[in-house]
C-alpha cells in the first residue's frame, strides 16, 4: 500500500518527467527540420539535456527508488548530466561564434573544448571505476579530484561561458533561447537550495520545514518550472511559424 508521500512522489515525479520529455520531443522535432550540422547538433544538445535532467529528476525526486534500489541508477544519472550539459555548452558556443559577425573565437573555444572534453571523459572513466586506480589514500584523492573535474568543468563552463555568450550576442533568437535555458538552470539551482534547506526534520537554526510533504512539493515546483523553461528554450532555437503568420515570441 502506497503512503501519501509515495503518491506525491509518483504524481509529481511523473509530471516532471512528462514536461522534460515534452521539451526533448520539441528539440528533436525541430532538429528534424534543420539541414546544417552545427544547428542540428545544438538542438540535439538541448534534447539531450532535457533527457539528462529528466533522468536526474527521476533520481533526485526519489521516483527511481520505485524501480531500482542499487546506487547504479544514481551513478548513471551523475555521469549523464555533466556529459550532456557540456555537449550542449560546446555546441551553443560554436553556434554563438557563427552568429557573431566577426566570428570571434571566444576564449579560444575551438581549441579549449578539445582539452576539456578529454579531461571530462578521463575523469568520468576514473570516477566510474572503469579503470582500477591504486588503492588507499591515493585512490581517494584521485577519485575526489576526478569527480570534481567531471562535474566542475561542465557546470563552470555552462555557468560562466553561456551567460557571456548571451551578453555578447546580438542574435535575438539565440539570446531568447539562452535566456530560457538560463531560467531553467536557475530553477534547478533553487531546487537544490530548497532541498538542502528543507531536509526531513529541518536544519536547526537555518530554515525548518519538518513536513516532508511540503518539502517535496517545493522540489517538484522548482523541477516543473525548470522543465517548462527548458521546453521554452527548446522551442526558441529557431523561429517557429504557424500558418497564421504569427511569429512565436
Amino acid at each position: 500500500m502506497l503512503s501519501d508521500y509515495d503518491v506525491e512522489v509518483l504524481i509529481g515525479g511523473l509530471a516532471v518527467l512528462a514536461v522534460y520529455g515534452y521539451a526533448a520531443f520539441w528539440a528533436f522535432n525541430i532538429r528534424r527540420g534543420l539541414t546544417v550540422k552545427l544547428y542540428r547538433n545544438q538542438t540535439l544538445g538541448i534534447g539531450l539535456v532535457a533527457i539528462g535532467l529528466a533522468y536526474f529528476s527521476f533520481v533526485f525526486d526519489k521516483l527511481l527508488s520505485f524501480v531500482v534500489t542499487s546506487s547504479l541508477g544514481t551513478d548513471i544519472g551523475f555521469a549523464i548530466l555533466p556529459l550532456v550539459l557540456f555537449y550542449f555548452t560546446d555546441q551553443s558556443l560554436r553556434a554563438a561564434r557563427e552568429s557573431d559577425p566577426l566570428e570571434r573565437d571566444q576564449f579560444h573555444w575551438s581549441k579549449l573544448r578539445i582539452v576539456l572534453w578529454i579531461a571530462i571523459l578521463i575523469s568520468l572513466i576514473i570516477t566510474g571505476n572503469l579503470v582500477s586506480p591504486t588503492s588507499g589514500l591515493v585512490f581517494a584523492i584521485v577519485d575526489v579530484a576526478t569527480a570534481f573535474i567531471a562535474l566542475g568543468i561542465p557546470l563552470a563552463s555552462s555557468a560562466i561561458l553561456l551567460p557571456l555568450a548571451w551578453t555578447r550576442s546580438s542574435d535575438i533568437t539565440f539570446r531568447r533561447h539562452l535566456k530560457w535555458f538560463g531560467l531553467s538552470a536557475i530553477s534547478i539551482g533553487l531546487c537544490f537550495v530548497w532541498a538542502l534547506l528543507t531536509p526531513p526534520g529541518g536544519v536547526p537554526g537555518v530554515f525548518v520545514i519538518s513536513n516532508a510533504f511540503v518539502s517535496l512539493s517545493g522540489e517538484f515546483v522548482f523541477l516543473l518550472l525548470s522543465a517548462y523553461f527548458l521546453y521554452r528554450s527548446a522551442r526558441a532555437v529557431v523561429p517557429l511559424y504557424s500558418f497564421k503568420e504569427k511569429i512565436e515570441t
Partner: protein
C-alpha cells in the same frame, strides 16, 4: 533568365531561373539550408562560364567545406572570392566603404561578361551597422547590378534581427525566397515560399523541400 542551379527552384521562380539584372534575397533561420542556394547558384554560373563573385564573411575553406556538405564540389572552377581568409580580396565586415569599393571595382573590370554575385554578409553587416547604412550600401550596389549584366543573390538570417528591419530589407530586393519552419500541431515542417519575384505572378503556395546530393527536391505542400 539566369538558372538558380536547381531545376526544381527554376520552375518556382518563373520557369528558367532568376530574372536578368535582378537582386534576390534568400531569408531563413540558421540551419535551414538557404546557403545551399548560393552554392548551387555559383556552381551553375561557373559551369556556364559566367563570372562569379562570392562575398563571404567566412574563409574560403569554410565555404567550400559547407558546400561539400550539400554534395557540391567546385573542383578547379572557383569563383572570385572576397572572403575573410583565402580569397583574392579581404572581406572586412567592419569596413563597409572598402567592401563597397572592392565589389564595384570587380564588377567594373568584368563588365563585359555576365556576372553572378553571392553576398552572405548581410546579417553580419546589419549587426555592425545601422539598418539605414546597410540600405544605402545595398541601394548603391543594386544600381551597379542594374547597370551591368548582373544577378545578385543575398542571404540573410531570419530571427537574428528585428522583424521590421527584415521587412524593410525585403522591400529592396526584386525577389525573396523564404525558408521557414512551420508548426502544425505537434509537427514541424521546413517550408519554402517564393514571396515575390520580379516579373512573376506572386505565388501563394508553400513547398516542402529537401536537399540531396544532386540538388534540391521540392514539392507542393498541402496543409
Amino acid at each position: 533568365m539566369v538558372s538558380t542551379g536547381l531545376s526544381s527552384l527554376d520552375q518556382l521562380v518563373g520557369g528558367d531561373g532568376y530574372p536578368d539584372r535582378s537582386v534576390v534575397l534568400a531569408v531563413g533561420a540558421p540551419g535551414l539550408g538557404k546557403e545551399a542556394l548560393s552554392y548551387w547558384f555559383t556552381h551553375s554560373g561557373l559551369l556556364q562560364g559566367d563570372f562569379c563573385l562570392y562575398v563571404t564573411r567566412h574563409s574560403v575553406s569554410e565555404v567550400l567545406k559547407n558546400a561539400k556538405a550539400f554534395g557540391l564540389d567546385f573542383g578547379s572552377r572557383v569563383p572570385f572570392w572576397i572572403a575573410r581568409d583565402g580569397g583574392e580580396l579581404k572581406c572586412n565586415v567592419k569596413d563597409l566603404t572598402s567592401l563597397s569599393f572592392n565589389i564595384k571595382e570587380v564588377l567594373r573590370k568584368n563588365s563585359d561578361r555576365r556576372i553572378r554575385i553571392v553576398v552572405d554578409t548581410l546579417s553580419a553587416l546589419l549587426m555592425l551597422n545601422s539598418p539605414e547604412t546597410i540600405y544605402n550600401f545595398l541601394s548603391t550596389l543594386f544600381d551597379d547590378v542594374k547597370r551591368y549584366d548582373v544577378v545578385l543573390l543575398g542571404t540573410v538570417e531570419d530571427g537574428m534581427h528585428q522583424p521590421q528591419t527584415l521587412v524593410a530589407m525585403q522591400e529592396l530586393f526584386d525577389g525573396v525566397v523564404e525558408f521557414r519552419l512551420y508548426e502544425e500541431g505537434l509537427r514541424v515542417t521546413p517550408l519554402l515560399r517564393i514571396r515575390k519575384m520580379l516579373g512573376v505572378q506572386p505565388q501563394p503556395g508553400y513547398y516542402s523541400f529537401s536537399f540531396t546530393s544532386s540538388g534540391m527536391e521540392v514539392s507542393a505542400y498541402a496543409k
